[in-house]
């Protein structure tokens, strides 16, 4: 039964591709043309490509096989479409509604063109329902992957801007840390800082914790690890701005501060850095 149906549809598509393609342009115009997401030429190409892929699937050996290359090609088509629309500022709903409308338009167009009452055939409707559900799933998968990629990029950007390493003087790096320090962020800070020490030949690194409100055992160990790594590279590390709560937490966690220079404020830390480098900064004599 299914085999016969596929042969019929495939034969139909081979003969009538041009006329059906025109009918399938309407959903594209409705969902992508009005908001200017696609121009007329793109919409025409889109429906022609969709129809070719659909004809390929219906003409495949087993059109119900979700592992066949023809179905995979349709998945890629919808994934690429979703990506294109999202990048152009469209919504995922537009692509989903487009796919749904395409399903109904396709069945109606086939019926109209062939004279076969597809809309009354339960098996045909079930087949297209299941097929388009899978394709809509692919649209959502693409949407989620895209969202995740954007969130990751934003997170990375935020991390980078929240830990700005600045060379405040020749050989002096400052790193003001703001917000909550977690293990992954601490590791990123360490990686960025050690690379900068090597690149800039920094003699002193001043890490300012004034903006850090919370610290746990693991993170405090990582902080000490950063200081030790900086020292091992031959630089000096100064920690400034430790809040009383953080100091209390560090003491209760038995963190060893031996050999670590601390100062109350960033300004004191800079003075200490200049002192270590034998730099004298003074008011201009009047």
């Amino acid at each position: 039964m299914n085999q016969k149906l596929s042969e019929k549809l495939s034969a139909l598509f081979n003969l009538e591709v041009g006329s059906i393609s025109t009918l399938l342009e309407e959903p594209g115009r409705l969902h992508f043309g009005r908001d200017g997401l696609m121009d007329e030429e793109e919409i025409v190409d889109l429906s022609a490509e969709f129809l070719n892929l659909m004809a390929g699937l219906l003409g495949a050996k087993n059109p119900k096989d979700r592992n066949c290359p023809e179905f995979h090609a349709l998945e890629i088509f919808f994934s690429a479409l979703a990506q294109k629309v999202l990048i152009r500022g469209g919504k995922v709903e537009e692509v989903v509604r487009y796919a749904q409308l395409m399903q109904y338009t396709l069945i109606e167009a086939l019926e109209q063109d062939s004279g076969i009452a597809f809309t009354e055939s339960r098996s045909v409707l079930l087949y297209f329902n299941s097929l388009f559900n899978e394709l809509i799933m692919e649209v959502f998968r693409t949407y989620l992957a895209e969202r995740e990629r954007v969130l990751e990029a934003q997170e990375a950007e935020l991390r980078e801007t929240s830990t700005p390493i600045t060379e405040i003087w020749d050989g002096v790096l400052t790193l003001p840390i703001i917000g909550t320090l977690d293990s992954s962020r601490t590791m990123l800070v360490m990686e960025a800082l050690l690379s900068r020490v090597a690149k800039d030949h920094a003699e002193v690194v001043v890490m300012d914790l004034t903006g850090v409100q919370n610290i746990d055992s693991q993170v405090s160990h990582h902080l000490i690890q950063i200081v030790r790594a900086v020292q091992l590279m031959g630089s000096n590390a100064i920690i400034t701005g430790i809040q009383p709560e953080i100091a209390r937490a560090l003491i209760s966690l038995n963190i060893d501060f031996t050999g670590i220079t601390t100062r109350a404020s960033l300004s004191d830390g800079l003075k200490e850095a200049f002192r270590q480098m034998d730099i004298h900064v003074s008011h201009k004599a009047s």
């Binding site: 360490m190 990686e191 050690l194 690379s195 020490v197 090597a198 030949h201 920094a202 003699e203 690890q225 950063i226 030790r228 790594a229 900086v230 020292q231 091992l232 590279m233 031959g234 630089s235 060893d256 031996t258 050999g259």
Partner: protein
């Protein structure tokens, strides 16, 4: 002749040790004797150990550095590790809790930069 060991005089009483990949740190006793002997003979007071080529320092390599630093301290030579790579510093900071028995510096101080190889001190 010890493979992988390059010792160069820099300045009056300092030396630069540039180990290559051929340096076999498992041959520790022989290396320590050779380095300490050469430095003592040249009346060195400071050895700069160049770690530029050492991307990773594991416990075995760290033990070698410590053994060398302690041996040199016994013959009154300071050991300063220079050019430690960020990856190596990160790896070391994981397992080194206290202060290592060698000093560290970013580079050789500017006043030592009149480097010239000393006759007979190249050991490879």
């Amino acid at each position: 002749m010890i493979a992988g060991l390059h010792l160069t005089r820099i300045g009056k009483d300092s030396f630069l040790l540039e180990p290559s990949q051929a340096l076999n740190i498992r041959d520790q006793a022989r290396l320590l004797d050779a380095i300490a002997g050469a430095l003592q003979q040249k009346r060195a007071v400071c050895l700069y150990y160049d770690l530029a080529g050492q991307k990773l320092i594991d416990q075995v390599y760290y033990a070698w550095l410590e053994a060398l630093a302690r041996t040199l301290a016994a013959v009154n030579v300071r050991m300063v590790c220079i050019h430690m790579q960020p990856t190596a510093a990160f790896a070391l900071s994981v397992f080194v809790k206290g202060k290592p028995c060698f000093e560290t510096a970013l580079d050789i101080p500017d006043n030592h930069f009149s480097a010239r190889p000393v006759e007979g001190s190249r050991m490879s």
